[in-house]
Subunit: 320 residues, 2 copies
């Protein structure tokens, strides 16, 4: 750098290693991380001799838009949706690795803001970003892998639901879908809903609570309530019946936004993904903080809403 | 699909879930995997209460070209370079998760071939592909995270090299760079070198051998021998001296290809990355199968070649 007055700005100007140094500098790893970033690999303690692992990739223009989200929002969302996957097993997140693909003209500050978002979402979970990769890519790509700790519990799969059990949810439904529609239609106000689309708020800690309360089957609502319950119905070979009467609070939270924007509030509640609520079945009572929204019944795999097959929007699919 | 004569071909035609079913069908997980793909997360046993983790992202047009590599080659390369990272800690790979970003027009068969390549490289290691994600993306992106098992060993970092120790390498140098040049110049013959560029052959199992033989510092050669040894020199605050006389076998393996293509054989050997050889320092003798190529000396962090600062190509950098 011969000219001190010119501050390097893009990742291409700074180079891979200098940008990585900026992303890693000054972060504090939690105690479970015995070796953090900077070597060929990291080392993380696994207290009960097992590790939960899941991965999710976010691509600019498809899973987020940088004219809606700040890079900080994108970082928080990437951590939240991965952490929700380990919560849905009855575990809690302990560590993340993050591979970033970025166009050469990406401002380095955008990546440091994204890393700040990653850390701001991970830190309250007691988890760290323990490693990563940074490469050139035609679009910004954020690929996160999460490690989780079951603390001795059996993992709660999608396959354990049994007839007679109740279906209960923890966390919000329909808010992210409402927020997406408001952004898409460029309708102001409803700031909390618009915000929720950019940064989901999974009910952290409640996956372990559900497991300890005897949850038989669990998943997080990433594709939409009916679509995700269908995954439980298929894996468990049971029917699931939902009651809209039990979902009125979610409906009421989005009905004004629907009226202002011409959206369908029940479609948001029943089929809107990305809120990352947890939904589980319990053979007895659901734990405090969980709302009973339906029941499991015998028979072929299907999801009924108020006794009927629901013919609304089928939930998010890639390439849809 | 109303028309039985038209076989769906692209990921957009088949849809995310149907493609994932094809990628996952018929795979056999190793015993350490207590829960494989198909749920919110996987669960893997960690015998010694720790897990090694690393991640690498490959992007089409940057890290591979589908007019050079088959999708199967790309899958093998993605696993190999990640497995080499855990080998470089003195560990062995136990499990992988793979996030794929693919354009909507990608033939589904391309992704099943890629998955076959992932499995064909992972299976001999005793490791499985335990989870993944599939999303839309403007270019094919393969983001792999590897888990590794130290089997009770201390991790071998880059920071433990001490003056007086020998530097030794296991695996080949310069072959991948030679192969790249031959592909780039469209020069036929030299099939083994061309092949090696598409699918590296890390010396699997030798990371643990080195650790058990007392390796103080270790890394894999991904950016180039001098560049990667510079990482050890920096982390250990030592000087490293290489002897080209000890590298003659590598030089001889590529010199004919260099003559035929106008390449620089010493640049390939000293600065060619992607062979994923292992390089380590040992206070005593190097183990069988390792070649001594230099020594560690006191003083500021630097890498000398035959006593001189080497001013060749500085090694691979993203955004370079």
């Amino acid at each position: 750098m011969s000219n001190d007055h010119t501050q390097p700005q893009t990742v291409a100007e700074l180079g891979e290693f200098a940008v990585i140094d900026r992303l890693v500098a000054g972060r504090h790893q939690p105690p479970a991380v015995s070796l953090g970033p900077g070597d060929d690999a990291a080392v993380v303690a696994t207290a009960d001799g097992r590790v939960v692992i899941s991965t999710d990739m976010l691509v600019a223009g498809r899973h987020f838009r940088l004219d809606w989200s700040t890079p900080h929002d994108v970082g928080r969302k990437a951590i939240a949706q991965n952490a929700a996957d380990v919560e849905a097993m009855g575990a809690s997140a302990t560590a993340f690795v993050v591979a970033l693909g970025a166009p050469a003209h990406t401002p380095a500050s955008q990546l440091t803001q994204l890393a700040d978002g990653l850390w701001d979402e991970a830190r309250p979970l007691g988890a760290g970003i323990v490693g990563g990769d940074l490469v050139g890519s035609p679009a910004l790509v954020v690929s996160v892998t999460v490690l989780g700790d079951l603390a001795g519990r059996a993992p709660i799969t999608r396959g354990g639901a049994r007839p007679g059990s109740v279906v209960a949810v923890c966390g919000d439904l329909g808010r992210s879908a409402a927020g997406y529609w408001l952004w898409h239609k460029d309708i102001g106000g409803f700031d909390a809903l618009r915000r929720r689309h950019l940064v989901p708020e999974p009910p952290y800690g409640q996956g372990a609570v559900a497991a300890d309360a005897g949850a038989e089957a669990m998943t997080d609502v990433s594709d939409g309530l009916v679509a995700d319950l269908r995954h439980i119905a298929d894996a468990s070979q049971v029917g699931i019946e939902l009651s809209t009467a039990a979902l009125v609070a979610d409906y009421e939270a989005v009905v004004d936004a629907a009226a202002a924007s011409g959206g369908d509030p029940w479609a948001w509640v029943l089929a809107g993904g990305e809120d990352h609520a947890l939904v589980a079945t319990f053979p007895g009572a659901a734990p405090t903080g969980w709302r009973v929204i339906g029941k499991v019944f015998d028979g072929p795999a299907r999801v009924l809403v108020d006794g009927q097959v629901w013919n609304g929007y089928a939930g998010w699919q890639s390439f849809g």
